[in-house]
């Protein structure tokens, strides 16, 4: 009877309470600890999934070594790592202005892909007919314009009819992919739909092949940081992102800011597309961007939309990617395993934000005892 009563009178087992504030250093300690925990869980997953490791548990060390090896073991790998990071950083920077405005643009993939297409189209049609320098400029303009238009379409609809930007930008990705497929069929009559490397419109390089791209990414990072932090536009973006009502109160034209910011986002995607098209591939496929437009969302988000912190997060993601590739090569596992690892780490990082923002309060034992005594 007593037990039953105690059962009937019960606080919920736990409830969540929002933390008022957490010290910055504490939050970072939590984040670091969580990333470490994520790596440990990755190790466990590897142990379970990779037979080679089960035979010889000491090889688990090799598993972790792969992360280092994948990115830093040779200078070729290091350059490749930096190049991947630079491209990812550029696209991440591109999505950031919109995100700071709480405009959930998940169309960076499409915006970048269309830019690659635009810039390769210029090279395809005009290559050889105009001087190389002019061609490059035209490619650049085409890429930036394409990215901007692709971003402006959903922005205009949002500002005019308040359409859902997330769905809209997502759909635009598919349109971009099929547009590329279409042009590949037109351009490659053989039916293979694979456009060989063009001989025109190569971004000049000095030092190393990838150095220009890496420098551009760095300059862009600093530039965007200044734009967001110190320009009037950047200030307006922050206000609109925080509260549309505050923005209206202070006399900001919210629609104008939305459209302008998306144009900036699109142009940056255009620049990233130009770097991919003219700087690396000199060709276009439906996989030219390879999902980096989506990864960029994670990178930007994890960095709390701060361009400088984004260097860390894009580095971390690139490290994971190169490490994962190394693992599938060294330990001879199939191609899906790297995705598992990236997934686990991201899951932990995102999950930890919840614990930074909320506290879990368990039912106090002492109190339930008190309650029982009170009931009697």
């Amino acid at each position: 009877m007593r037990v039953k009563k105690a059962n009937a009178v019960q606080e919920p087992l736990f409830h969540l309470a929002k933390r008022s504030e957490i010290a910055v250093w504490k939050a970072w300690v939590i984040r670091l600890a969580v990333i470490l925990l994520g790596f440990i869980v990755c190790g466990l997953a590897a142990f379970v999934l990779i037979e080679k490791l089960q035979d010889d548990p000491s090889k688990i060390v090799d598993f972790y070594k792969c992360f280092y090896k994948g990115a830093f073991s040779t200078s070729r790998k290091l350059w490749k790592f930096l190049k991947n990071m630079a491209i990812l950083q550029c696209i991440s920077l591109a999505v950031t202005p919109a995100f700071r405005m709480r405009f959930w643009n998940i169309g960076a993939e499409g915006q970048t892909l269309v830019s690659v297409l635009g810039c390769i189209a210029v090279a395809f049609y005009l290559g050889g007919t105009v001087p190389a320098g002019v061609l490059l400029v035209l490619m650049f303009v085409a890429a930036v314009l394409c990215g901007m238009i692709w971003a402006l379409i959903p922005a205009l609809f949002k500002a005019r009819w308040n359409t859902n930007e997330t769905l809209f930008t997502l759909m635009m990705n598919y349109v971009a992919t099929f547009l590329v497929s279409y042009f590949l069929i037109v351009w490659v009559p053989s039916g293979s739909s694979t456009l060989g490397k063009l001989n025109y419109g190569k971004l000049p390089s000095f030092g190393h092949d990838y150095l220009v791209i890496i420098l551009i990414a760095l300059i862009l990072t600093i530039g965007l940081y200044i734009y967001l932090k110190h320009s009037k536009h950047g200030y307006e973006i922050s206000v609109v992102g925080e509260s549309v009502r505050t923005a209206q109160y202070s006399g900001i034209n919210v629609k104008k800011v939305i459209i302008r910011t998306m144009a900036v986002s699109g142009m940056l995607c255009g620049l990233s597309g130009f770097l991919i098209g003219a700087g690396l591939d000199q060709s276009v496929t439906t996989e030219s961007v390879g999902g980096q437009g989506f990864t960029a969302i994670m990178v930007s988000w994890l960095a709390k939309f701060n361009p400088l912190v984004m260097l860390l997060t894009s580095g971390l993601i690139s490290l994971l990617n190169s490490g994962a590739a190394q693992i599938s090569q060294d330990l001879n596992v199939n191609g899906a395993f790297p995705d598992v690892i990236t997934g686990i780490i991201l899951f932990f990082i995102i999950g930890c934000e919840f614990f930074i923002n909320y506290r879990i309060i368990f039912r106090k034992r002492s109190q339930s005892i008190l309650n029982k005594e009170g009931v009697k």
Binding site: H230, K232, Y235, V239, E242, S243, T246, Y249, G251
Partner: protein, 570 residues
């Protein structure tokens, strides 16, 4: 008393952070009675009821149903205990019929059969005298029909304690009459009914007992037959407390803002402002009293250019006669525009036109301080955006009710918040943080804002400090009209006095101050005149030095008395 207790609460306390919404409330509900919960907005009525309905969980205290202690963790628990709540904002699926909404979420014992449900709904409706078509879709229904669906939904689940949150707020007088008849029938059927309200005449006409809440505390529960409007008002608003606010006599008040026949309809089609007219004078504090949500917010936002109007005018009167025009609040283009309208003369009274002068020459002339206004400036602010109002040179400051959601940016520091109104200044595309930084330091020093630093996000500051930052910024703008909505809400006594003093200083400077308040003691102690607003209509204008709390309280709550003639303004 022969009636048995249906539900009782003992020592119920609920806190939201540092705010105590309910403080050790004891309350009994009898079987077969209508109990009114009466109190001003924000006194914890709805919070208390939400704890019975399973929306919130009390921090302390116990709830007993028919003498048995119970724990209500969720709305489902509440339904299991036969407690049902009809919320102020209906929770219905628009595309479903009445019957479909009613059965939604009910565990059926036998197969789902809409016909049975329809019959059962009609049965309940008949029993209590509702009029409803179970097959009608929600989107075709009037507000009153939707409410009926909500009530039947609760009855269908077998509730014998019904809580209605402000049920009459959206109804016409005839619909209210009908609702009350239904409630009386339910009472005769042995059900306990709790209605949350702040309308006195309704309380008196329908309920058996009244529980009065004030600032989260249960003041008293009285039999309705022993109560009068004034006795209830007194308990609701509390005894008069003497406040030591230094109130100076208004010096030479000049009409500054004329509001004429403002009408405003909210997005849901409800008229929130009805023919509101008044005049705000410079050198005076005009109080606006009323139950929260009577149209105060819309009124201030309309003046600030944030609320579209369906009718009326807002005329700003700028006492500029023979004053020099400056670029401080007017752009060059605006000055040129005014010149073309022959608005200026020189110190000898000769008209000025800038014909044939280039911008630099015009600038020089204006900056010499010898371009004077011929007449006071009169501007209609209706349908102007906040930016347009500012560009006209109207120095209108607004301290909105929602400090962090509208007046300030919570994630930004004090410096960045200072820029909110002025960041456009300066020629280049970059913001200048130097002056805002100085202003921030000044406000921190002079208003004694407790903050770790100028760049600490204002969200982290306490309510009082947030308000000091906001009011400080709006005053730094050197306003001619200063509007403040609930500027001391949630503030401790010292911070409140800081705000009163600031408002008084503005008044002495000749600013027209409009103060929307909820505490009648403060309104009576601070303001010069008090305008009473009730359901979007002005129901009175009183002299704050002679008016009484009861008088204002009645004007705030009575709906059947005709609006008093507004006192003509000087």
């Amino acid at each position: 008393m022969e009636k048995s207790i249906a539900l009782s609460m003992r020592g119920i306390t609920k806190r939201f952070g540092s705010v105590v919404a309910n403080n050790h409330v004891d309350l009994d509900v009898y079987q077969g009675e209508i109990l009114s919960i009466l109190g001003e907005n924000g006194c914890g009525k709805t919070t208390l009821m939400n704890m019975i309905a399973g929306i919130y969980f009390p921090d302390e205290g116990k709830i007993y149903k028919e003498g048995q202690e119970v724990v209500i963790r969720s709305p489902k628990d509440a339904f299991d205990l036969k407690i049902g709540m009809i919320h102020q904002h209906f929770k219905l699926v628009d595309l479903f019929t009445a019957a479909e909404n009613i059965v939604l979420g009910v565990k059926q014992e036998n197969a789902y059969n809409l016909k049975d449900v329809n019959n059962r709904v009609s049965e309940i409706a008949q029993k209590y005298g509702f009029h409803i078509d179970p097959r009608k879709k929600i989107y075709d229904m009037s507000v009153s029909e939707k409410q009926t669906v909500e009530i039947i939904k609760v009855l269908y689940r077998g509730a014998d304690i019904l809580i209605l949150d402000e049920p009459t707020a959206v109804l016409t007088p005839q619909e209210i009459e009908r609702l009350f008849n239904v409630l009386k029938r339910m009472k005769e059927d042995g059900k306990s009914i709790i209605i949350i309200t702040h309308k006195l005449h309704e309380v008196l006409s329908v309920s058996d007992r009244v529980a009065i809440l004030r600032k989260g505390e249960h003041i008293a529960t009285v039999e309705t037959k022993d109560a009068t409007e004034s006795s209830l008002t007194e308990m609701m608003v509390g005894k008069k407390i003497t406040l030591n606010i230094d109130r100076s006599e208004p010096k030479n008040p000049q009409p500054r803002l004329f509001v004429k026949n403002l009408n405003c309809v909210d997005p849901e089609g409800i008229q929130v402002l009805k023919d509101v007219s008044f005049t705000a004078n410079g050198g005076e504090i005009l109080g606006i009293a009323g139950i929260a949500g009577s149209g105060q917010r819309e009124l201030l936002e309309a003046i600030a250019g944030l609320q579209p109007l369906t009718g009326g005018e807002i005329i700003f009167h700028n006492p500029k006669k023979d004053q020099p025009v400056t670029f401080f609040h007017k752009s060059l283009n605006r000055v040129k525009e005014l010149a073309s309208q022959e608005a200026f003369h020189d110190e000898y009274g000769n008209p000025i036109s800038f014909g044939g002068m280039n911008n630099k020459q015009i600038r020089g002339w204006v900056e010499s301080g010898k371009v004077l206004f011929k007449e006071d400036e009169v501007m209609n602010l209706r349908d102007k955006t906040p930016l347009e109002i500012r560009e006209l040179g109207v120095r209108l400051s607004f301290v909105p009710e929602d400090r962090l959601g509208m007046g300030l940016v919570g994630s930004m520091g004090i410096t960045d918040n200072m820029m909110l109104r002025s960041y456009r200044k300066g020629p280049a595309g970059f913001v200048d943080r130097k002056k805002p930084r100085q202003l921030a330091d000044e406000i921190i020093r002079e208003l004694e804002v407790a903050t770790p630093g100028v760049n600490t996000p204002v969200r982290r500051l306490s309510g009082g400090n947030v308000q000091k930052v906001l009011v400080g910024r709006e005053i730094a703008f050197a306003p001619k009209v200063l509007m403040a909505a609930y500027p001391v809400r949630g503030l401790d006594i010292n911070s409140s006095y800081t705000i009163y003093n600031l408002l008084n200083k503005q008044k002495e400077k000749g600013v027209a101050v409009i103060f929307v308040g909820e505490d009648l003691d403060v309104l009576l102690g601070l303001c010069d005149r008090i305008l009473v607003i009730n359901s979007g209509k002005i129901t009175g204008l009183v002299d704050a030095r002679t008016a009484t709390k009861e008088e204002i309280g009645l004007m705030m709550t009575q709906t059947d008395t005709p609006a008093k003639e507004a006192v003509p303004c000087v």
